[in-house]
């Protein structure tokens, strides 16, 4: 079988300096800029008023009692439980007790929820706008250039990744086009930003997208569109079904059996 001849493409070495480096530097600079733009645009977390705090923490209090009732003696658990259930069912801790039983307001009409969404929008914008600009810049000036050859062989599947914008069927996948270098930069600069800006930077969009996936669970509890009255009623039910036992039951016997002098 005939040996496949090694492809050689004669490139202008200047391509290297005028395409590879500019793309890399521009990517790093936009990352840094994006970080500072996000820092500047970040609005200070909104202060909660007393009633909201009260509503949320009262619910948490009930959850704590339910989780750790075993440290209490039975009479003290009973008094707490009775008080909490009564207060929960009468809606004493609600932010606006008049709004009980009404359907929850549309989250779009709640100004505090709107603000959170605006923040998210701003972040999204900070991602999308620079990316679009750079992408079109690269497309306008550098599209179709093959800028370097990777020093290791690759299978044919890598062609679509490394040779975007260069529609040549027979070219070795080791050759890399400028637009592919741009994509590599998007995904691969995270560690550079960590080094430059510290580990909690807002430069990389990958990290941000991860974050948006993350805190769903925690944020959901008091998020917009959740009816606190229903939460309270559910918690009252949870408290009512506790069957008491205590860590203090028979602790003397445990101690005498467990500790030898």
């Amino acid at each position: 079988m005939a040996q496949v001849p090694v492809q050689t493409i004669h490139r202008d070495p200047q391509l290297f300096y005028w395409i590879l480096f500019p793309i890399t530097i521009v990517m790093i600079l936009t990352g840094v800029l994006r970080h500072y733009a996000t820092v500047l645009m970040a609005s200070a977390p909104k202060k909660q008023d007393q009633k909201t705090t009260r509503e949320q923490r009262s619910l948490l209090h009930g959850i704590n009692v339910r989780g750790n009732y075993h440290v209490l003696s039975k009479p003290s658990l009973t008094t707490r439980r009775d008080a909490l259930i009564t207060a929960y069912e009468s809606g004493a801790y609600l932010k606006n007790p008049d709004g009980r039983g009404q359907p929850p307001p549309n989250p779009m009409s709640d100004p505090s929820a709107m603000e959170g969404m605006m923040g998210m929008m701003k972040n999204q914008m900070a991602m999308i706008i620079p990316n679009t600009l750079i992408m079109s810049w690269i497309n306008a000036f550098f599209s179709g250039y093959v800028i370097m050859k990777l020093p290791f062989p690759l299978t044919i599947k890598f062609k679509s990744m490394l040779q975007a914008g260069v529609a040549t069927r027979d070219m070795d996948p080791r050759w890399m086009s400028s637009i592919s270098w741009y994509f590599l930069c998007i995904f691969g600069l995270q560690s550079v930003f960590n080094f430059l800006l510290g580990s909690e930077n807002a430069a990389s969009q990958m990290a941000q997208q991860m974050n948006q996936m993350g805190p769903q669970g925690a944020g959901q509890m008091f998020g917009p569109g959740v009816d606190p009255n229903k939460q309270f009623l559910a918690e009252a039910e949870n408290l009512a079904v506790i069957e008491h036992h205590s860590v203090l039951d028979g602790v003397e016997q445990r101690l005498l059996a467990g500790i030898k002098v």
């Binding site: 202060k47 909660q48 923490r57 704590n64 003290s76 430059l196 510290g198 445990r254 500790i259 002098v261």
Partner: protein
């Protein structure tokens, strides 16, 4: 230079606090006076560390304690530069500095008025609300402090620190059931926590290390005090004592060789044996019953043996037995000697 410790300085002995505050000038010199937020600055000096601000806070506390007001003001100034004038925590620290420098009751009243004003503008400002409680308490207005705390706990009932302070205030007023209730809340909120702190002794800013066994022992002590208060009915006395025994046992169960737990256990079991009260079944099945006399005797023996072992070993400063508080060891010795002389007689 070792950086000022990150733990709260409130538990330090006076000598250690003095040593810490004497490091203040060196620390102030070694860290930059302003943190640059410009891109170039962070490129060259690295990102700021959050521990740094905690160090400033701790330094302020120990400097105020040792009378180095100048250094405290410098630290405060840096916190203000970084976080702004109206940051809640900075406001509380500034209040603390003012309280420390106030001469006489008039100046304290003035600080109190400032707190009231801040709270009028923003009633959810928890650090200031806590400072206000601490100030009221140190001015001797205990019932005002208690009602302010109750108000705070009404909208923030998950605050273990505040509950523990409330318990302390009720205790100093002699309201044992209320104190016990508040302490139980602490235990519910922080059954596994290392950090619960008491705001008046501390500036309520940095947590004090506290083990759950300590909370149990504290609660047991409250029960014991409630039981031995004058004019307690016999049924109530038994109920309190029974729970006290259980709490002390639990505290030892959580933390081996816990001196305070054993001390308390010894104290309470001795008293129960001396009383010779027969354990009556409580009318209500749900309450704890006193253990029978034999169990109490065994508990007493166990506590005595353990206490003398701790005293002996810590006097010989064996490996792993150091670090007991000197005062607590001395008290234990006294308790044991008391016991021995009683037997001789």
């Amino acid at each position: 230079m070792a950086p000022p410790i990150l733990n709260s300085p409130i538990q330090l002995s006076p000598a250690a606090a003095l040593a810490l505050s004497q490091q203040a000038p060196a620390f102030l010199r070694s860290s930059p006076s302003t943190v640059s937020s410009s891109p170039l600055g962070t490129l060259f000096s690295g990102p700021e560390k959050s521990e740094q601000w905690l160090q400033y806070e701790n330094l302020i506390v120990s400097c105020l304690r040792t009378g180095d007001d100048q250094a405290a003001h410098q630290c405060l100034q840096r916190l203000v530069v970084r976080f702004g004038d109206d940051n809640e925590r900075v406001q509380a620290i500034r209040g603390l500095v003012k309280e420390a420098e106030a001469q006489g009751n008039g100046a304290l009243e003035e600080v109190l008025n400032e707190y009231n004003q801040i709270l009028n503008e923003n009633d959810a400002n928890i650090p200031i609300a806590k400072r206000r409680v601490a100030l009221l308490r140190s001015m001797g207005r205990l019932s005002d402090a208690a009602s302010a705390l109750v108000q705070l706990l009404d909208f923030s009932p998950t605050d273990a620190e505040a509950w523990s302070e409330l318990s302390d205030i009720y205790l100093s007023q002699g309201l044992y059931p209320q104190a016990i209730y508040a302490m139980e809340e602490v235990l519910v909120l922080a059954p596994n926590a290392w950090n619960v702190c008491s705001p008046t002794k501390a500036p309520n800013l940095s947590p004090m290390l506290m083990h759950p066994s300590q909370i149990h022992a504290r609660l047991g002590e409250l029960q014991y005090m409630a039981a031995t208060a004058p004019g307690v009915a016999n049924g109530l006395y038994q109920k309190y004592m029974a729970e006290a025994v259980k709490r002390f046992s639990r505290s030892i169960e959580l933390c081996d060789d816990y001196l305070r737990g054993y001390y308390d256990l010894k104290l309470v079991s001795k008293r129960l044996l001396n009383d010779g009260t027969k354990a009556t079944r409580p009318t209500d099945d749900s309450e704890f019953a006193l253990p029978d006399t034999k169990t109490i005797e065994r508990l007493n023996e166990l506590a005595t043996a353990k206490l003398s072992e701790i005293v002996r070993r810590s006097a010989a400063s064996d490996r792993g037995w150091r670090g007991y508080n000197e005062a607590e060891i001395a008290a234990t010795r006294e308790l044991l000697a008391d016991d021995a002389s009683a037997i001789k007689r």
